[in-house]
């Protein structure tokens, strides 16, 4: 019983770490349903599997503020955690992309976006890196749109 309870607790902690955000004190703050990138997204019938988890992202929309904050406050841990959360989410999406042969062309763009975001979590964020992140986001946005048909 004790072991099962510990497993459940561990699972809950894992889930909260994936879906929630930490505040500046390091406390995990569960994200509200409305925080997902595309609430009530319905993928088109032929859409690849990665569309749904991508639409459920909770950190993509925080990337701009985090990038700007790190340009001004390089030591801002909250902003770095936001970007790290985006990296984690997009890596999970990339795992779907790898499993789908029809989405092969998307792999390099997703990998470059993840690499740029990861770089911002470990390096100073300057104009060049911010521009790179923006360009990679834009490239992925264009590539996935015909497949996922996200609302515009």
């Amino acid at each position: 019983m004790r072991i099962r309870g510990a497993r459940v607790l561990g699972l809950l902690l894992l889930l909260s770490s994936l879906t929630g955000c930490e505040d500046r004190d390091g406390t995990v703050v569960p994200a509200a349903d409305g925080d997902v990138a595309v609430p009530s997204y319905e993928a088109p019938p032929q859409a690849p599997d990665f569309c749904v988890p991508l639409a459920g992202s909770r950190h993509v929309s925080t990337i701009p503020t985090a990038v700007g904050t790190l340009m001004l406050e390089p030591a801002d841990e909250h902003a770095r955690r936001e970007l790290a959360g985006a990296v984690t989410e997009l890596e999970a999406v990339l795992a779907y992309v790898w499993r789908e042969p029809g989405s092969r062309d998307l792999r390099p763009g997703m990998q470059e976006l993840i690499a740029a975001l990861y770089s911002a979590t470990v390096n100073p964020v300057d104009d060049q890196l911010a521009t790179r992140i923006g360009e990679r986001l834009d490239a992925v946005a264009e590539q996935v749109q015909p497949m996922c048909e996200f609302p515009l």
Binding site: E73, G134, A141
Partner: protein, 321 residues
């Protein structure tokens, strides 16, 4: 004592947000002996013999431009505090009127036109947001840097607005990264190190960008046309100007008109302004009303140096396609 009849005709005056504009005459502008212009002009205005006064009676910052036979405009008793100064510098030009500001134009004898060409509520909102970091007694250079920063922020927000069109959430995030980077650059370059991070982080809010972007549209527009001064001793008749653009030019029973007057030169304004109503015919006889007999325009008023002006907005911070 001026004996020439004076004709004031209000051109097409449109207010996209009528609640923000008031044409109610206020004592300090429309004192006794002055002719208040018709209420369809979006700001309060009066003719006082040899000059016209316009008061920004709206609650937003506006830019007014004069053209035709007008002298140099002068602000009358305007607020010259740091926030007001920065706001004027950020909007740019002589015709910037903060809420409550009064500007006085000397009138010549020829036709003249005063237009409210632009609202600048976003500039004012950003200036107010940055007021907390303005020094109490800033040097002129500091005020100029502050104004320049506001211009950069506005450019970034304008670029974002066009960038967002037709984008999915990833594309919108890309646009916002560009805006955030532009703001980061502008704040770092425009403010001292000690205050830059605090100010910058306060500015990094996409919801706020959206709100400011929505404020960017001009909210108060209109024009006021003043035909040439009539000769002093001749008969006059009243003729209502033809209706145009669906807006009545508020015929004034005291207005005397007889012959058409050529349209005044168009003011070189930066944004489309609703076309004013046709200039009413020139009064070529003695006044039919007592106000005109006493308040005709001065024959030695300012000469034709009306200035059209506007604000070009560079916005090279958008997402590259």
């Amino acid at each position: 004592m001026r004996t020439a009849a004076f004709v004031v005709a209000v051109g097409l005056a449109l207010s996209l947000q009528p609640a923000t504009a008031s044409a109610t005459p206020l004592p300090e502008v429309c004192a006794a002996g002055r002719i208040p212009v018709a209420a369809t002009f979006p700001l309060e205005a009066c003719v006082e013999g040899d000059a016209v006064r316009v008061r920004n009676s709206s609650d937003v910052v506006v830019v007014v431009a004069g053209s035709g036979d007008l002298g140099a405009p002068a602000l009358v008793g305007a607020d010259d505090g740091p926030l007001a100064t920065v706001t004027r510098l950020a909007v740019g030009g002589e015709g910037v009127l903060l809420p409550g500001d009064v500007v006085r134009w000397p009138l010549g004898q020829g036709t003249a036109e005063i237009s409210v060409v632009e609202g600048a509520p976003a500039t004012a909102a950003i200036a107010a947001e940055l007021e907390a970091v303005l020094p109490d007694h800033p040097e002129p250079d500091a005020l100029r840097r502050h104004a320049s920063l506001i211009g950069d922020l506005l450019a970034g927000i304008e670029a974002r607005r066009s960038c967002l069109r037709g984008q999915n959430f990833l594309g919108r995030a890309a646009c916002d990264v560009g805006t955030a980077a532009a703001i980061g650059r502008a704040v770092t370059e425009g403010l001292p190190d000690g205050v830059a991070p605090d100010v910058g982080v306060r500015m990094l809010d996409p919801d706020r960008w959206t709100r400011w972007s929505g404020l960017s549209s001009p909210q108060v527009r209109g024009s006021l046309q003043m035909p040439a001064v009539a000769p002093p001793v001749q008969a006059a008749t009243v003729e209502t100007p033809p209706e145009q653009g669906g807006v009545d030019p508020a015929p004034d029973p005291s207005v005397t008109q007889a012959q058409p007057v050529p349209a005044p030169p168009a003011a070189p304004v930066p944004a489309p302004v609703p076309a004013p109503a046709q200039v009413p015919p020139r009064a070529d006889g003695p006044s039919a009303g007592p106000a005109q007999a006493e308040d005709g325009r001065d024959t030695d008023g300012g000469k034709g140096n009306g200035k059209g002006k506007g604000k070009g907005k560079g916005n090279g911070n958008g997402k590259k396609k």
